[in-house]
Subunit: 570 residues, 2 copies
C-alpha cells in the first residue's frame, strides 16, 4: 500500500472527550472516528489491526477445537424469558420491536441463542464436547460510554461457548480456553495477567479475567510477589488477620462527642484506627438494608458483600431513614441493638478483634471493649474486605499482594448448567439418562484488545505497536518524494520487502520529511526505513526502531536481513 | 477437520416453510438454522463458505483500490434526516431508541454514515479518489422474508462507496467495480449476467445488477441472443414497434356490449388484439391518478411507468372512484375526453398505431379508427412496456431478447451527488472551488451469493459446490471406520492431501457407508475419496466427482496428482 492512496487522516489536536492516551492516539493517528456516543467507525489502519487480532484469535480457537459460526444479532425476547434474563438485564439491553410488534434485543451476549441453537441437535454424549464461536458486533447501552472503543455501546467481541457431558469435561474445555487465551494475548505481544474474577451477571462457577497491564486501566488487580496468584480486586480472597491476644474486658458505653468519622474517633479516644470497627450501610435494588462492619482502616468490597447476601445484586448507599428504621444511628453504628432480621455482615478480620470500639447506635456515643465473638450475636461473617497493597497472599506462605492496574480484555466462565437447565438443553448420557449440558462461555473484546495494546504501548510521540498487530510492520519513507531518484529508490526497497513477505507501507506523499516522520511515530509502525540523500549518495539505508528510537544504518545489500532480524525481536 | 468433531447436523426432512431448493438444502445439509422469521444462524460448514466468498470479495476490492473499514450498525436518525430518507424509508427500516430516547436505525445501507464519515476529512481533489468498503450485517424488516438467507431480515453485505472529484472519475470507479464484480462471481464459479438495472430507492444514475442464473430465481432478466446486452425486466429498454402503414380513417364511436376485456373486445369486433389499445390505472402514494395506455397484447412495466411521472414512486391499482372523477369509465377507457391535467402516459408502441380501437369512456362503447398521434392530444409518451420473450434487442441490429430467471447477488450504482449535496460533503477542486463529491455505491449480498450458488448448483441428492466456495474441497471417507486399517489408511491420505495444500475433511464417523455417502452428496463436497476394503487389498483409491458422478480408481502413487488435476477443473 502507498500512503498517497491510504485513507488515514491524522490530526494535530485531540478531541476534548478523549480522556486517556489510547483514545486520544486512536483519534489522532486516524484509526477511529465517532458517529455517536460510544459508537465508532474503524478506519483502514485500525481495521488492519483488528483483522490481525481476529486472525490470531481464530487460529487459537480452531487449535483448541473451536468451530466458527455466526448467529444473528437480533434475538427474540422469548429466549431471554426462558433464561429469566429478559426482565433482569436492565437498561443496558437495547430492545427493538419489528413491524409485527414482536420484541427482540440487540445481542449483548449469546448464551440464550446458542443454547437454543444446539438444544435440539446435541442429543447424545457421543457428540460432546462441542465448542462453537463467533466474532461479531455486540450491543450494550452503557450508562456512561467512554475511553473510545474501550467502553463503547457497539463493540466487536469473540464469544465461544462450550458444551460438555460432565463437570470434568467442562473443566477441561475451560482449561483449554485458558491456555488459548494465554496464547492469544502472548501472540499479540501484550503484557497481561490471568486473574481470578467474579462471574457477575453471567453467573456460573469459576471465572478468570485476562487483564492487559496499563497504569491508566479501569481494572484494579492484585498479584502475589512470591507465587502466580493474581485476582481482580473484586475477587481477591483475603486471609483474616488475627488481632493480638487480649483478655476480654466488659462492654462499656462512653460519650464521644463529634466523632462521626473513624479518624475523629481514634483521635478523641487516642487509639489506633486498627482498634475501631466501622460501619457501611447499603440498600439493594429491592430496598433491603445491608449493614457491613469492618476494621476501621479497611474498605468494603461491594462485590464480595453482595455475594455474601442471598439475592443481593446491585448495591447503593443506604438512605438515613432506612438505617434509623432498624435502630441504627448514622456515624455511630454497631451490630449491637440493631433490630432482629436485619442483614448484618461482619468482615472476618473485624470478627477476630478484641476490646475494640464501635458505635452505640446513639449520636455521640460509642461502645468500648467490644468483643465481636461475644457481643455481636447472629450475624453473617464473611470476607468482604477490599484488597490493599501489601496484604498477605491467600495462596502461598510468604507472599504479599501488590496492586496494579489494567484493562480487562477477555474473560472466561465455567457456567455449569445455569442456561441448559433453564432452557431444557439436555443430552442422553452413557446410561440413557437425560442430563443438562455443562456449559462454559469465553469472551474477548477485540476492539478493546487493540485499545489496551495502545494503552500499554505508547509514548509522547504516539503509538508503539507490537509487531504482530501493527497495521503495517514496516514503513518505507521517501524522505523527499518530489526527488524522483529518492522515490524510485524507496519503491525498489518497498518491493523488495514485499517480496520477502514483510507487511510494508510506502510513504510516497509529497509532504515535508518532518510531517511524514511525525506521522510514522504517531501511527507507530514498529520499523521505519528512510530513503534520503545519503541513500542516493552512498547506499546508506537508515532504519529506526520505533520502540527504542535506535537508529541503524545498513548497507544496500545487508539491510533486508537487518530489518528481518529486528522484526523478529519486536 | 474430522467429521467426528464437526458440528454439521444433517436432516432427512425439510421444514415446510422452505419453498426453494437452496433453502431446503441449506437446512438439510446442516448449513443454517432459523432463530426467528428471516433470521438465521450460519453453522460451521456454511460459515466456511461465507468466509471463502468474503476472501474473494476482499481480494478483488483491494485490487480495485478499495480499503476495508468498519462502520457501526446503529446509525443516528439525524444523518438520515439530512438526506431526507428518515421519513422516506418506511417500515423496512428497524428503528431503535437508546436509554436517552435518542433515535437510531439498524443500518439497512450506509450512504449517510459514510458521507458523514468523510465529509470533514476529504477536503481536496488531491485526496481523491477514495474507495472504502466493509463486510457487515445489514437489517431490513422485510414484509415477507422468505427463501432462507436469500431474502432475510438480517443479512451479510459487502458495501463499498466511491468518492471522486468529477463524473469521469465516478464513471471510472464504477467501471473498476463492474470489473471487480465480474471477477468475484467468476471466481466463485457462478454463471451470471451483469444486467442494466433500475436504481430504485438508492437513487442516482446508471446501475447494474449481477444476477446469478437459476430457474427458480426471483429476478426476471432479458438477454440478447446476438450481443452482450442484458437487463433486468424492470429496466430492459424496448424499441417502439412500428405498425404497418395505413391511411387514417375518421374516428367513430361504436356500441360494443359486454367487451370490458381486451379478449372479449377483439372477439366481438373480429380484430387482432394488436389492433386494440388497453388502459391500466394506478394511484401513487399521494393518491395522484396515472392512466397508462399500451397495445392490447402488452403489459405495463410499473417501474418504467413510475419513472415516467415526476414524483411517482410506489404505484397501486387505482380505485374506481378516482377513475370516474376524471371522466374515465373502467373497462372502456381512452385518453380521449379525460379531464385536462390528468397524468396520461402512452407507450411508444401504442403511440405508433393506426386505426386502432380504444375505449370511449362510456360503458359498452369503444372508438374505432383511433390514431393516437392525431387523437390523443397532450399526453406523455414513454417506453412503459414490460419486456417479452422475442422482443427486439434495443442495442444491436438483429438480436432478440430472451427471458431468463436468476438471483440478484450484487448491484452497483453511480450515485452522483445525491447524498454529498444533501449532506454538504464537498471538496476543493483544482480552482479552489467547493464541489460536492461524486459518489458511487456497490453492494454484494454475501449470504445470498451462497444461496444463489446452491440454487444454481444442485441435484436431487444435494448441493454441488463450485470448488472455490466449497466448505471443503475434498472429503476422505473411511468406508468402515470401525476397521482400524481403513481408518488409519484414510488418515494417511487425509494428511497427505492437507500437506499438499488441499482443503480436506476426514469422514471418520462410525456410521454406515450409505449414511456417510449420502451426507457427502447432500453437503456437496466437489471430490469424494473412499478408502474401503479394495484400497486395503490392492491400493485402489476410488475418487468421485460430485458434479458428474464420475468414478475413477487411482493407484496409491498417482491419486494425489489425479485429485489435483480434477480439482483444477471444478
Amino acid at each position: 500500500m502507498r500512503a498517497t492512496n491510504l485513507y488515514a487522516p491524522t490530526l494535530r489536536n485531540t478531541p476534548a472527550e478523549a480522556e486517556i492516551a489510547s483514545h486520544q492516539l486512536m483519534y489522532r493517528a486516524g484509526l477511529i472516528r465517532k458517529s455517536a456516543g460510544g459508537m465508532y467507525s474503524y478506519l483502514p489502519l485500525a481495521w488492519r489491526t483488528i483483522r490481525k487480532i481476529e486472525q490470531i484469535i481464530r487460529e487459537e480457537m480452531d487449535a483448541a477445537g473451536g468451530q466458527e459460526i455466526m448467529m444473528p444479532i437480533l434475538q427474540p425476547s422469548e429466549l431471554w424469558e426462558e433464561s429469566g434474563r429478559w426482565g433482569a438485564y436492565g437498561a443496558e439491553m437495547i430492545r427493538v420491536k419489528d413491524r409485527h410488534d414482536r420484541e427482540f434485543c440487540m445481542g449483548p451476549t449469546h448464551e440464550e441463542m446458542i443454547t437454543a441453537l444446539v438444544r435440539d441437535e446435541l442429543r447424545s454424549y457421543k457428540q460432546l464436547p462441542v465448542l462453537l464461536y463467533q466474532i461479531q458486533d455486540k450491543f450494550r447501552d452503557e450508562r456512561r460510554p467512554r475511553f473510545g472503543v474501550m467502553r463503547s455501546r457497539e463493540f466487536i467481541m469473540k464469544d465461544l461457548y462450550s458444551f460438555d457431558k460432565d463437570v470434568e469435561g467442562m473443566n477441561e474445555s475451560y482449561r483449554k480456553m485458558s491456555v488459548a487465551y494465554t496464547n492469544i494475548f502472548t501472540r499479540c505481544g501484550l503484557d497481561f495477567r490471568a486473574v481470578e474474577a467474579d462471574s457477575g451477571a453471567i453467573g456460573g462457577g469459576h471465572s478468570e479475567e485476562f487483564t492487559v497491564l496499563a497504569p491508566e486501566g479501569e481494572s484494579r488487580i492484585a498479584c502475589c510477589d512470591a507465587c502466580s496468584y493474581a485476582a481482580s480486586d473484586e475477587k481477591a480472597a483475603l486471609r483474616p488477620i488475627d488481632a493480638p491476644d487480649e483478655a476480654e474486658l466488659p462492654l462499656e458505653k462512653v460519650v464521644t462527642p463529634h466523632t462521626s468519622t473513624i479518624a475523629l474517633l481514634a483521635e478523641y479516644l487516642k487509639i489506633p484506627v486498627e482498634k475501631t470497627i466501622k460501619a457501611v450501610a447499603y440498600q439493594t435494588e429491592d430496598d433491603t438494608l445491608i449493614l457491613a462492619f469492618l476494621r476501621g482502616d479497611h474498605e468494603v468490597n461491594e462485590i464480595k458483600l453482595a455475594n455474601a447476601v442471598p439475592g443481593a445484586r446491585e448495591l447503593r448507599m443506604a438512605e438515613e431513614e432506612a438505617i434509623r428504621a432498624v435502630g441504627g444511628c448514622p456515624g455511630f453504628m454497631s451490630p449491637i441493638g440493631i433490630k432482629e432480621g436485619t442483614h448484618i455482615v461482619v468482615d472476618e478480620t473485624a470478627m477476630r478483634m478484641h476490646n475494640a470500639v464501635s458505635g452505640a447506635n446513639e449520636a455521640d456515643y460509642h461502645y468500648i471493649n467490644v468483643n465481636p465473638q461475644r457481643d455481636f450475636g447472629a450475624v453473617t461473617v464473611a470476607d468482604i474486605r477490599l484488597v490493599e497493597e501489601g496484604d498477605e497472599c491467600p495462596v502461598c506462605e510468604n507472599g504479599h499482594l501488590h496492586i496494579g492496574r489494567g484493562i480487562e480484555a477477555g474473560q472466561i466462565f465455567a457456567l455449569g448448567t445455569k442456561y441448559s437447565a433453564a432452557m431444557g438443553a439436555t443430552f442422553l448420557d452413557e446410561t440413557g439418562k437425560a442430563q443438562p449440558l455443562q456449559m462454559g462461555c469465553y469472551g474477548i473484546g477485540v476492539g478493546r484488545t487493540m485499545a489496551a495494546a495502545i494503552e500499554q504501548n505508547h509514548d509522547e510521540s504516539g503509538i508503539i505497536w507490537p509487531r504482530a498487530i501493527a497495521p503495517y510492520e514496516v514503513v518505507v519513507v521517501a524522505v523527499n518524494a518530489k526527488v524522483e531518484e529518492q522515490l524510485r529508490y524507496a519503491e525498489e526497497i518497498y518491493e523488495e520487502l514485499r517480496a520477502a513477505g514483510v507487511d510494508v507501507l510506502l510513504d510516497d506523499r509529497r509532504e515535508r520529511a518532518g510531517v511524514k516522520f511525525n506521522d510514522c511515530d504517531l501511527i507507530g509502525y514498529p520499523v521505519r526505513i528512510a530513503i534520503g540523500p545519503k541513500t542516493i549518495e552512498n547506499g546508506s539505508i537508515e532504519v529506526k526502531v520505533r520502540r527504542t528510537g535506535e537508529l541503524v544504518n545498513f548497507a544496500r545489500d545487508t539491510y533486508l536481513k537487518g530489518v528481518q532480524d529486528m522484526l523478529a525481536t519486536l
